[in-house]
Symmetry: C2
């Protein structure tokens, strides 16, 4: 089993060799430039068989010819050349390798034999390997990445991601910044020649920057070890899981994708439940839960209050809450009195608290945030956009309308979770996202706000603050 | 029971009175201007007690003083003045009224008594009434709307919407154009003094512009009639339902919102199932299903093929398909041969068909669209956005990458449904939406693509073409 220190060079390499650097477009061309741009140029070496300079640097024909000890190798050679690279690195070269090439067990029996050969070699030679068939590692703390990502992904945050697939991992990284999700580390593990999800769960559990762990899994390499690891890790941090290969057709798909045997879903369901992990049913649900868990405190009871400007959405979301075992909080007399003071006569002051067009959204939100009988709050700040367009030219902003939501939450002492759910025109959704900043999660599937509070109420985790 | 002709003046009024027109901002000020802008200025009359001109027009102090017969009244007076308006209209004024005022049964016992009095009056006087506590009607064919909406909502389409709540209806209208959803008619029904969901289901069933009906319901006024109506209507057109008030807290919320008694959910479940309606579990699901049903032909069997550039998403979506009773199609030999011809050796040609970075997305999509063993197709055209940004400057467009999806579908003869599911950076999602146009539905919850094919395979509807 890996210890966290074993894996350190994958995330904080003191020197890097790109093995399979290229003079024409592709990973082998772009990654060295990307590493230079992010401050790793003075400890970067390029390995490629054709002599001459590349990106203005000398090249080395093999890893064993590198002029000094190098910690990490990023390998982008054809699959068939991998055993030779492993042997060469073992002689005199990096002992931590990220294999970003494909053409192994995911392609059939021949590739599987090659992979088995590489696995044995790595073990015998004492090399640590991530991949193959992956894009490796992103670390927002030191801006080290073994693949080209958008700059926006490198804003440091608290979410640690383990994804089995490279393309999928990259697509997630493209999407998360828009969702106001900031990551600490991300790792794609591909075919798991050596380092697997359990090693990385332990690594992220020990990583002070990571508060919440998200894992996309096609199949576990070792079920009993996964259960034991999850039990250990979820005692420290919440772990969210998305698992494909639930059905026979899905299982067939994962075999040809990352060579995973996904196995009986009921077994996984038991492993996740007994291991204390929270299972998501889809990609959006996974990341909406991640948003809530990485920003909000645990919910200490199960009493929810909803503040809404749409009675319909209030009704739909309280239904979703009750379906999940949460209850509608009875508002305190003081809360009701605070809201009634300025409310028009037609407004019912109850829970869900539908303020309609009264302009009392801010007052209502403040009141329920400070109500001791409320354990968690869902805000649904919606308004017809035609009205917004008419009112904005006369100075009426989203903040005036709905309150400065992030500030209200900060002022409330952040003692209970606040989650925003809404639906509507994207320009309005953007305005609300700005009001909520990175601290109050916004879900554009309003029903996910209920799922988020349920996850926060499970209470199987404590928050590790940096 | 209403006949369609009874309701015609609500949708195609030959003349309109705004009763409760105002000189200061609000519905009574904006609606007359909106009606003028949309070509209804020459048959528009304003009723308001204070004498003098308004928007450059003469005003009339009561409906009974209008200078000529008027078909439709849009009523925006205080709730307490409603009985007087009804009596006055019955004397000499419009006999079809949309009550857009609030303050009735949704506010408590006093409002409920007022509503009961108005209901009796309307019935005794033979008036037809939509509302109160609603925003009335949108008709994209003649651009008549009884409320201010965004211009983008008025592009004619095939979706008929019945929503119980005004705010919610308006918010949906703001959102649908971005989702490439075009409506035929939309009606918010509020507290249903007279016209209810059954009247409107029959109206939309007979409306040639409407192909698919969507209904958001808090509670039915008459369960047995709803069942009988759904049976009749779903034999002609698909009906999608979203129902709130499933739980006790949700039921309490709907009572104070539109005065609806939502009742036992199991009863509704049975009514929807026996009535042939498709029930959605959330707002996004409702409209993703609406997109598919209003653009795609029925699915004649249950055999799905998936073409994807992400193996992970392919595995997740095929899982979702099998969960719903669909099956993974076995690809025909000819299909496999077509795709193999240009595919790299690492590419597995099976279903899900994961083309990875091979550039074979278009070829694979064309092949499965023409495969006789495939009843419906899901396309998942994703790519890391960092790659897109690097390739676009050298002329590589989304269309070159993934094929001109809408054109491919048209060229295939539109014989089987094609649904696109994806996740990722919004700039990429926008590019794919453009490639798909209004004819191929795009779902940014990839799992909804599976739900959409299931709905298309239920086979309880025929498509009424205009």
């Amino acid at each position: 089993m890996s210890s966290a220190s074993d894996l350190r060079p994958f995330f904080e390499p003191r020197s890097i060799a790109v093995i399979g650097a290229r003079r024409n477009p592709g990973f082998g061309f772009g990654i060295p430039l990307f590493l230079e741009r992010h401050g790793f140029g003075d400890k970067l070496f390029l390995v490629t068989p054709t002599p001459g300079n590349l990106h203005g640097r000398p090249v080395y024909s093999r890893a064993s010819e590198l002029p000094e000890p190098v910690e990490l190798g990023i390998v982008i050679v054809p699959a068939s050349a991998t055993p030779e690279v492993l042997e060469d690195c073992a002689k005199k070269g990096p002992r931590h390798l990220i294999l970003e090439n494909a053409g192994f067990s995911e392609t059939g029996p021949e590739g599987a034999a090659l992979e088995a050969r590489c696995r044995k070699l790595a073990k015998d030679l004492g090399l640590r390997v991530i991949g193959p068939n992956c894009v490796g590692v992103v670390n927002t703390q030191n801006r080290f990445t073994s693949t080209e990502v958008m700059e926006e992904c490198l804003i440091p945050g608290h979410l640690g991601i383990i994804a089995q697939s490279g393309v999928f991992g990259n697509i997630l990284l493209d999407w998360l910044p828009e969702e106001h999700l900031r990551i600490s580390k991300a790792i794609t593990i591909g075919n798991r020649l050596d380092v697997n999800e359990c090693d990385l769960l332990d690594y992220l559990a020990a990583d002070p920057a990571t508060r919440v762990i998200v894992i996309y899994l096609e199949g576990a390499q070792d079920g009993p070890r996964l259960l034991a690891t999850l039990r250990r890790v979820t005692a420290r941090k919440p772990v969210l899981v998305l698992k494909s290969g639930r059905t026979p057709a899905g299982q067939a798909a994962t075999v040809s994708h990352t060579g995973s045997l996904s196995g009986e879903d009921a077994v996984y369901e038991a492993v996740f439940r007994q291991g204390g992990a929270i299972r998501a049913r889809g990609v959006h649900e996974l990341f909406d839960l991640a948003k809530a868990l990485s920003t909000q405190p645990p919910m200490r009871g199960n009493r929810v209050a909803i503040v809404t400007s749409s009675g319909s959405l209030g009704a739909l979301v309280i239904d979703a809450c009750l379906d999940l075992g949460l209850v509608a909080a009875a508002l305190a007399e003081e809360t009701v009195a605070k809201v009634r003071r300025q409310a028009p006569s037609w407004m019912n002051v109850k829970n869900p608290l539908d303020v309609g067009p009264s302009g009392q959204f801010r007052v209502a939100l403040e009141a329920v945030l400070s109500d001791p009988g409320v354990d968690g709050v869902i805000a649904i700040p919606v308004v017809p956009f035609s009205v917004v367009r008419a009112m904005e030219p006369i100075g009426f902003t989203a903040g005036l309308w709905m309150g400065e939501i992030a500030k209200l939450w900060q002022a409330s002492g952040k003692r209970k979770p606040l989650v925003v759910g809404l639906v509507g025109n994207s320009a309005w959704v953007d305005r609300i996202r700005k009001l909520c900043g990175d601290e109050v999660p916004v879900m554009d599937l309003p029903e996910h706000a209920a799922l988020a509070l349920r996850a926060l109420s499970l209470g199987n985790h404590t928050h590790s603050e940096e």
